[in-house]
Subunit: 236 residues, 2 copies
């Protein structure tokens, strides 16, 4: 059983403290000397941890000045309305999407049940990456009941916003009916897509969006990079 290296646990500790907001973007971390005193290790070991955080884009070091927090996790509120573009823009970042797949195929049994479709009815599969200022924060697969949303596939090739795509096919508003959250490990391909290392933790959500009258419009599967996103729940 391989023991986890000291430098790795230090990197994890610091990354969590940054994620908690203990150190905010732009803040200067303690000096390498202070950190090595705090963790009771050699300065080189701290440097190893810091260089790891640097590679992940979490901190950046400036010789003679110090090590500074580069990026903090995005706060991602789960409320009545969950809108990716809005959520990202609210943190002062630029939302974007990279499409990996856009295809139509017959639904399976669970999809039929969740989306209230007849067995074999077609669904639109929309898979891609969610970017926040060019940094990938999530891998998503959206499943739409295309038979009720004719033309959505075309609109999704023209806009990166699901909300806009739905509006173009007549859905003015929609609500988040349920979100289920679990923690998972990255698969190899997800690690590649999200720029993580294999086995890094992910927040996996399974969600259902419906129209105001309760008709399902989207089943969403999303894998958020665990150290780049904080889901927030605030009952109204």
């Amino acid at each position: 059983m391989p023991r986890t290296p000291v430098w790795k646990s230090i990197a994890e500790t610091l990354s969590v403290e940054i994620a908690r907001g203990h150190y905010k973007p732009g803040d200067k971390l303690p000096t390498e000397a202070e950190l090595s005193a705090r963790f009771g290790v050699n300065r080189h070991t701290v440097r190893h941890a810091l260089s790891d955080l640097g590679e992940r884009g979490i901190v950046r070091s400036r010789r003679g000045a110090g090590v500074f927090v580069q990026s903090a996790p995005v706060d991602y509120p789960l409320g009545k309305r969950v809108r990716f573009h809005q959520n990202i823009r609210a943190t002062g970042r630029l939302p974007n999407r990279r499409v990996l797949r856009l295809e139509t195929r017959p639904c399976d049994v669970t999809e039929a049940g969740v989306l209230a479709l007849s067995p074999g009815e077609n669904v639109l599969i929309y898979e891609g990456l969610s970017l926040s200022s060019d940094a990938p924060v999530a891998h998503f697969i959206s499943i739409f009941p295309i038979t009720r949303l004719a033309g959505l596939d075309v609109h999704l090739t023209q806009t990166t916003s699901v909300t806009e795509g739905l509006r173009a096919v007549g859905i003015e508003d929609y609500l988040r009916a349920e979100t289920r959250v679990t923690a998972e490990r990255t698969t190899t391909t997800q690690a590649l897509h999200l720029g993580l290392r294999e086995g890094d933790p992910l927040l996996h959500t399974v969600s259902l969006n419906t129209t105001l009258d309760g008709t399902p419009v989207e089943r969403g599967l999303t894998w958020f990079a665990g150290d780049r996103v904080t889901l927030t729940v605030t009952p109204d």
Copy 2:
């Protein structure tokens, strides 16, 4: 009369041992080689039994790692009121807690801010494990403003329910003001406590409970075993 296949009786034996709690959720079963030695059959026969258990969702095998008991994850709703004992009981399991620490110390700056305390005022630290039918599902640290909840420490030695403890000091009801969710990896000690392997993913929540008039009564840090708990969010 057709005799029951060997693989089927092996599957039945293992399934009973899991149900008895001999192997708890998250536990690693013996290797296929060990099992084939134990039952005196070929490894392929054991594989047949394990694949049967896998199809029934009782175990899950991970290449290169082993075969693991895959309990159905507990649904854990995050709403206006979040109550551990109620949530677990609602799934037909038996809730319990194991106390690791119960101590009073002066609060730090973040605690003072969150709990609306003066710097240096005392807080009660309540750390332990949350169990669902004896299987550990979470590691928690609760921080209470003990100066406003005199006697809570005594009551928490007599009940495992935070809700009951708070009622005993006059808090009849309390609300979940906010929950923040991130994904992390287990530390070595957490892996030991939760019966997970080092690096396994955790759901980490940071929460705040307040009285009806908004006075903070508990800051909670909780680490849920990622594969044993599903947090559910349903806006009212």
